[in-house]
């Protein structure tokens, strides 16, 4: 399902979300090879186009909800909502990234707002959208706060990433919270 973002200002490029596919491989490799982007992600920077193609085929395409963040239909990042099963089906986990060239322009905030304002209608069983952000990732924390997520606390030693144990901040947005 495509979602079109409002234009922030006169003449600003159109932001949209659409499925990512193999034809996006070159744009994918721009952020996938960037240490600044992978720093707080679970994956290590990619070092071959083949690895990128495998990742798109095996992880991204089968994913239940994974979209490319696009500027004038060019993929400049990605945003996803992971599903849970059984007693945890009320929760979805939000993840997003942006090529570093596009940081600091409010784009991630716009993309998260787009997802937050449509995902609960799209997935009626979803009550809670949550995000777990590294304590050192201030930029990402600010994105969520601007969209209206609630900061619920710090979960200590929650993830092992690149051999180190990380504390994360947990945020949530409920279907009953004011729409962003």
């Amino acid at each position: 399902m495509e979602a079109n973002g409002k234009q922030g200002q006169e003449g600003s490029p159109e932001l949209s979300l659409r499925p990512l596919d193999l034809s996006d491989i070159d744009d994918f490799m721009v952020w996938a090879t960037d240490d600044k982007v992978s720093r707080f992600c679970s994956w290590d920077t990619f070092n071959s186009k083949e690895a990128g193609i495998d990742y798109i085929k095996n992880i991204i395409i089968p994913h239940p909800w994974f979209k490319a963040i696009c500027l004038n239909n060019k993929a400049i990042g990605a945003i996803s909502v992971s599903a849970n099963n059984g007693n945890d089906r009320c929760r979805g986990e939000l993840g997003y990234l942006l090529a570093s060239k596009y940081w600091g322009k409010g784009i991630a905030t716009r993309a998260v707002k787009m997802v937050a304002s449509t995902i609960f209608n799209e997935q009626p069983h979803l009550e809670r959208l949550e995000a777990l952000v590294d304590v050192e990732n201030g930029g990402s924390q600010r994105v969520l706060e601007k969209v209206g997520f609630h900061r619920e606390g710090v979960l200590r030693k929650f993830f092992i990433q690149k051999g180190r144990c990380r504390d994360v901040v947990i945020y949530s947005l409920l279907s009953t919270d004011p729409q962003p």
Binding site: S42, G86, N87, D88, R89, C90, R91, E127, R128, E130, H150, E152, G153, V154, L155, R156, K157, F158, F159, I160, G163, R164, C165, I170, S172, L174
Partner: protein, 194 residues
Amino acid sequence: MQQKVALPSVDLLLELGVLLVRVTLRPFRVSDVDDFMLWAGDEQVTRTIRWKTITSKKEALTFIKEVCIPHLFCRSICIDDRSIGFVLVIRWSGGDRHKADIGYGVASKYWGQGIATKAVKMVISEVFKDFPDLLRLQAFTVVENIASQRVLEKAGFTREGLLRKYTFLKGQLKDSVIYSLSSTDSNGAVDDEV
């Protein structure tokens, strides 16, 4: 002919507050079935845990044999070697095996005596010793379960936050409070590089 010695009644012992000294943990046995049914069949106990309320001896036997006994870490909380509750630790797998969840329940007759707190404290020392790559022990309680939150606080857990509409428990959507104990809380310094 030997004379039978009359032991003090449990009620008297409760009054004397000596029960904590006699709290032990051990694996479940099939022979625990009757004691098990007393608390695992009690809605007051099972309301706030994931276990289904046990309604027959057959169910109790199946549960003990198929869940409690084969479990990586499931202990009966005992007084005088009689089962009055349970405490278990569920380890995560793969990239999350540095984490584990703790859960517990005590027969309602024994509430308010510090028994769950004692059992949790006993498990903490055992589990960080047995699993040296464990860095985080966590626990979830539903927001209205104040008694369970006190158990964790008395056992030294840190309250990290209130997670809104976090999970379904017995078909109801619940806000949960999350607690954790880190390996460095409970032991001496542990290197966080893995």
